[in-house]
């Protein structure tokens, strides 16, 4: 074919199946550790986990987190211990969902849900305050009117930590090294990484195949 072989290439493509997922109609399965909108977790007794240490704000590459710590009121403490975060804001116009804040947090106070479908029409909505980020009394993320929760986004909010040891050391794999959460208690470890046999790993991400429509 020589010079004309390019025509064959383009023609052959016509009969191949499309790989495009037609997003709003067909939604792909969200990976277990997808980085989405944050939540501020609470202990089983309802106390906030955040201690206002500002490590998340310090590590944030986009400078989108603003934290102010304060001493706990003696008669009505907000978190166990000395300090709590009395201001906690995340600016989602700047957040790049890198998850560094989650890694930095010493008390597992901030984690990410898998929610990424949220769009706001003004700046005030884009800046999530502590009241909006805190989990509700059932331990689940609060749902803002502009967020699209399709289900399952906040099921395993901090699952990335439970999958293996908190410190990542192999000898702690499968051992509980985390505190309980409001509404869920102390969650058991899901599975060790060494349980992942290759066949499971291959089939792990599954797609909603409702046909390559076009």
């Amino acid at each position: 074919m020589g010079r004309l072989s390019g025509f064959n290439v383009t023609l052959r493509q016509m009969f191949k199946p499309r790989l495009t997922t037609e997003y709003p109609k067909v939604k792909r399965h969200k990976p277990e550790r997808q980085h989405g909108r944050h939540v501020l977790n609470r202990y089983e007794d309802g106390m906030e986990k955040c201690i206002g240490c500002e490590l998340c704000a310090g590590v944030c590459p986009a400078h989108c987190i603003y934290v102010r710590g304060a001493d706990n009121p003696v008669d009505d403490p907000v978190s166990p211990g000395e300090r709590y975060g009395f201001v906690y804001e995340i600016n989602y116009l700047r957040c790049i969902h890198c998850d560094l804040c989650v890694e930095a947090c010493p008390t597992e106070a901030i984690t990410e849900t898998k929610l990424f479908e949220f769009s706001f029409t003004n700046r005030a909505d884009a800046i999530y305050t502590k009241e909006e980020l805190l989990v509700a009394d059932d331990g689940r993320a609060q749902r803002m009117p502009w967020e699209l929760w399709t289900g399952g986004e906040d099921d395993h909010t901090s699952a990335w930590m439970r999958a293996t040891a908190a410190g990542g050391a192999a000898e702690y794999e499968g051992r509980v090294g985390w505190s309980g959460e409001l509404g869920f208690g102390v969650r058991p470890p899901e599975r060790g990484q060494s349980d992942l046999v290759p066949s499971q790993a291959d089939t792990a991400p599954h797609f909603d195949e409702s046909g390559p429509g076009h």
Binding site: G6, T10, L11, Q13, M14, K16, R18, L19, H214
Partner: protein, 401 residues
């Protein structure tokens, strides 16, 4: 007047109001067909290219995204139309229409069906059958250059001017090869009227596909026509006019809103018209086998089948242009010029001379086995003489392979 449209039986009697009405209907229908087919072609082109690139393509507006072009058109219609302060305003406003008019007028002489009866008048299914139809094609494709050239010039801006200069050079260069390719058919048909050309290619038996249609008897002109027509319509791989990466869009850089849309429309209208003309000249136009089990005078055989055959042939050619668009990278400018001037024109002239000699020789009862090589030899000797007479530039220009 009677000379211009003599052959159409519509004008055999006196020109009455109903005859005028038929003419108006034909003009309106032709215009609507062309506009709608441009809309569908742009959609189809995007879909096919998407298929060839393993994408989905437009699929939002209407079923299968078929209304995408309409949506784009409506959007452009309501956009602001800005005119640069340095622009020559009247010319700037005029240029889009200069670009679209020839595209439409060229379509007017294309027969899209057989001879039918409308309101009791027998008439050809084409807007006008000019005795000089083929020359009209050349005239209109030449006029199309003005739209592009004036648009670039009147914008008062650098890039449009560069784009216009490029395109004018390109269009004029390929006009020669284009004309010579048409000449290849005219020598065979011995008529300039598109209706005559189509009648000569009428479908008698299955052998008509090879024997009567001109694509075999003018095989080389057919190829040259397709290449030259692609270049004339600024379609890839000859889309240097709007080389986005180099010219910020080319001659239409300064155009916005509906004026930009008209240029766009003209470009794709030209593609459809060129395909229609290639169908008319080389592929028998509306001729093709009718449905044998129906009477020859049946509505389906008289009206429907010719139109269907015409549409099918045009669609096949349009698919080829889209295929080219998806497959080939843009040519370098010097290679474009080399292809036009050094190869297409020479081959076309050679073909025209030999086939003209053969046609004359047939009348004179000369032996074609002798006529063909002798005329080819004369042509090649003449070429060589010309080639040696023209002084070469100092450096070696890389040739098109």
């Amino acid at each position: 007047m009677s000379h211009l449209v003599a052959v159409d039986p519509l004008f055999n009697g006196s020109v009455s109001w109903s005859v005028l009405f038929v003419v108006v209907i034909k003009v309106v229908i032709a215009f609507v067909i062309l506009l709608v087919s441009v809309m569908l072609y742009i959609w189809g082109m995007r879909k096919v290219i998407a298929d060839m690139q393993n994408r989905i393509g437009p699929n939002r507006a209407g079923p299968y995204g078929v209304l995408q072009t309409l949506a784009d058109g409506i959007k452009l219609f309501f956009k602001e139309q800005s005119i640069p302060t340095t622009a020559d305003r009247p010319v700037f406003r005029l240029a889009p229409y200069l670009s679209i008019m020839p595209a439409f007028l060229m379509f007017c002489i294309v027969p899209i069906g057989g001879t039918v009866s409308i309101l009791g008048h027998r008439t050809f299914l084409q807007v006008a059958d000019l005795p000089v139809g083929a020359l009209f094609i050349l005239a209109m494709s030449g006029l199309g250059v003005y739209g592009v050239m004036l648009a670039g010039w009147s914008s008062g801006s650098k890039y449009p001017l560069l784009g216009a200069v490029r395109s004018t050079a390109q269009l004029l260069s390929y006009e020669a090869a284009f004309s010579l390719a048409i000449l290849g058919v005219l020598i065979q048909a011995q008529s300039l009227s598109t209706h005559d050309i189509v009648t000569l290619q009428a479908w008698h038996t299955a052998a008509s596909f090879v024997r009567d249609w001109f694509w075999v008897r003018a095989l080389v002109p057919f190829g040259i026509f397709l290449i030259a027509a692609t270049a004339e319509t600024n379609h890839p791989p000859f889309d240097l006019v709007e080389a986005e990466q180099e010219l910020v869009g080319g001659f239409n850089t300064e155009y916005t809103g509906i004026r930009f849309a008209i240029f766009f429309l003209a470009e794709f209208m030209n593609v459809i018209t060129m395909s229609a003309i290639a169908t008319t000249l080389f592929l028998g136009g509306p001729s093709g086998p009718g449905l044998g089990f129906l009477a020859r005078a049946n509505f389906v055989n008289v009206w429907l089948m010719p139109v269907l055959w015409f549409t099918a042939k045009v669609l096949a050619l349009l698919f080829v242009t889209v295929w080219l668009r998806a497959s080939l990278p843009r040519m370098r400018y010097d290679k474009l010029m080399a292809l036009g001037w050094k190869y297409l024109i020479e081959i076309a002239i050679l073909w025209v001379m030999v086939s003209a000699a053969l046609v004359v020789g047939k009348d004179q009862h000369w032996n074609p086995v002798i006529v063909a090589p002798v005329s080819a030899a004369i042509a090649i000797v003449a070429f060589s003489g010309l080639y040696m007479a023209i002084p070469k530039a100092g450096e070696h220009v890389e040739e098109f392979h």
